[in-house]
């Protein structure tokens, strides 16, 4: 029974479009579209600028987090925190923000020059510009 549930959950996770997302910046940002490596560089703190402004990296706690961290960034959870702690406590990068959900990320990104975040597909609207699709 448990196995069937697990398989069903897996199938749902694979099929469900709710887990797809977009990397976004403010609609008026001059930042050009990114490839996966470009997104990784920013979310691993290696690129200090977004659209010519100091980067403000925004993570979020919503369901889109897991597919973004493991599928795009390549590090997740504790390993990602560990990576960022090495940058923040040595002054190599400014600490990223960790917001609650799509709405909070959208509001932050739309109002902050240099801010970059990720949201679920369904949350995309005219206030943001899509740089990468995952």
């Amino acid at each position: 029974m448990k196995r069937i549930l697990t398989i069903a959950a897996l199938a749902l996770a694979v099929a469900s479009p709710a887990f797809a997302g977009k990397v976004v910046v403010a609609a008026n940002s001059s930042q050009a579209a990114l490839d996966k490596a470009g997104v990784q560089a920013i979310f691993l703190g290696r690129t200090a600028q977004v659209g010519g402004q100091p980067a403000v990296v925004v993570f979020q706690k919503g369901p889109v987090r897991a597919p973004f961290e493991s599928g795009v960034v390549g590090r997740a959870g504790a390993q990602l925190t560990s990576h960022w702690s090495r940058l923040v406590f040595t002054g190599r990068a400014k600490a990223p923000e960790d917001l609650a959900d799509d709405a909070a990320v959208k509001a932050k990104v739309a109002s902050t020059p240099g801010a970059i975040g990720y949201i679920s597909d369904g949350a995309v609207d005219a206030s943001v510009k899509v740089l990468f699709d995952f």
């Binding site: 959870g77 560990s82 702690s85 923040v88 406590f89 002054g91 190599r92 400014k94």
Partner: protein
């Protein structure tokens, strides 16, 4: 007074943060309980036969204020249980970020000796309960001065190269007596590179003019000079003597495997400081949130018998020779560490760690010891 000052600055910065969004407060820390399960003392810790809850515990706050798009000011204040939680500035600098990978810092910062120097006390950033003491045993970690760095990507490589310059003045303990050290004209260069996000290589070179004033050594120096052996006193004493450090490190973090190796070589000319070759290898494997690891480490410190040989081997000088030899050969070390570590990530910013280390010292007249320590590390 120092504590009041540190707290005052923190409070002032914290108060500003409510007004300005450009101030960030982050922090980290660890609470560790440890004991020497065998032996009277364990190297690199204050552990004896009793359980200790303070020695490796610490709490740190970092406040960063952005002055404008390029300039920021950062203070990291660390309160260590070892110092009775008396807060001290581990970092205090003005930073410049020029874009295109260029950056610079002016103020107090870490000496970039080792792979993990910059985040020495950020337990969340490394797999062990403590960085291997065989290598991480420098008597100081900070300098006051300037640094500049350039980072760049090329293909799958992401690289960092930096230069530092400044000085360090610190107090320390030699043979249980107070001493002061000064490292003047401290300059260094380091480079690290990461390939494909799984292989990291690092090299560093530092040099300085080292002076030490130690109460434990001064009587010997006085006796040597009084007997007409100023040359021997000079060979023992640290008087702006040239010291140099070389460090090499490699780290593989691929799939569930973690391999870290680090090798260091330290020499100080014209002083009784032994030539030190120290290294370790760590292997670990990640089982989900659990990461057990094993570390093998060595300290191979060769004392300088040629200093003792400067004194004629005649009966009237036997006492002076014995005293000189005592100081010189106290630097001999032939020690091995086997560490068994476990890290358990209980949350994305909290981890539990345990370490059991067996220390064997093959230097004559020195003691072996084992230690057990467990702790919780966190970052926010």
């Amino acid at each position: 007074m120092k504590r009041l000052l540190a707290l005052g600055i923190l409070a002032a910065l914290a108060a500003t943060s409510t007004a300005a969004q450009s101030v960030q407060i982050t922090g980290f820390g660890q609470m560790v309980a440890g004991t020497a399960t065998d032996g009277d003392a364990f190297p690199g810790t204050g552990y004896d036969g009793d359980w200790d809850y303070k020695d490796e515990s610490l709490f740190a706050l970092q406040v960063r204020g952005d002055l404008n798009e390029q300039w920021s000011a950062t203070a990291q204040i660390v309160a260590r249980g070892r110092d009775d939680f008396d807060p001290e500035f581990a970092w205090a600098y003005v930073g410049w970020n020029g874009g295109n990978g260029w950056s610079a810092k002016l103020g107090r910062q870490r000496v970039p000796f080792f792979r993990y120097s910059d985040f020495l006390e950020v337990g969340y950033a490394y797999p062990w309960l403590r960085p291997p003491h065989a290598v991480y045993n420098a008597t100081f970690a900070n300098y006051d001065g300037a640094s500049a760095a350039y980072s760049f990507s090329s293909g799958d490589w992401f690289s960092n190269i930096g230069v530092v310059g400044g000085k360090n003045e610190d107090s320390l303990t030699i043979s249980n007596l107070p001493a002061t050290q000064e490292l003047g004209s401290l300059v260094g260069i380091y480079a690290d590179t990461t390939y494909g996000d799984w292989l990291t290589l690092r090299a560093s070179y530092l040099q300085a003019d080292v002076s030490v004033d130690a109460q434990a050594i001064n009587p010997l120096l006085t006796a040597l000079r009084g007997n007409g052996f100023a040359n021997v006193a000079e060979a023992v004493d640290f008087t702006e003597d040239h010291g140099r450090f070389i460090g090499l490190a490699a780290e593989v973090n691929k799939g569930n495997w973690l391999l870290i190796g680090e090798w260091t070589d330290t020499q100080i000319d014209d002083a009784y400081y032994a030539d030190r070759t120290q290294y370790y290898i760590t292997g670990g494997y990640r089982f989900g949130a659990w990461m057990p690891s094993i570390t093998w480490a060595r300290r191979d410190n060769a004392a300088k018998p040629e200093i003792v040989a400067l004194l004629p081997n005649v009966a009237p000088l036997a006492g002076l020779r014995a005293a000189t030899a005592g100081v010189v050969f106290s630097e001999d070390l032939d020690a091995t560490y086997w560490s068994y570590g476990l890290r358990w990530d209980v949350a994305t910013n909290v981890a539990l760690k345990a370490d059991y280390t067996l220390y064997t010292n093959d230097t004559p007249a020195s003691a072996d010891a084992d230690s057990l320590a467990v702790g919780v590390v966190f970052t926010f």
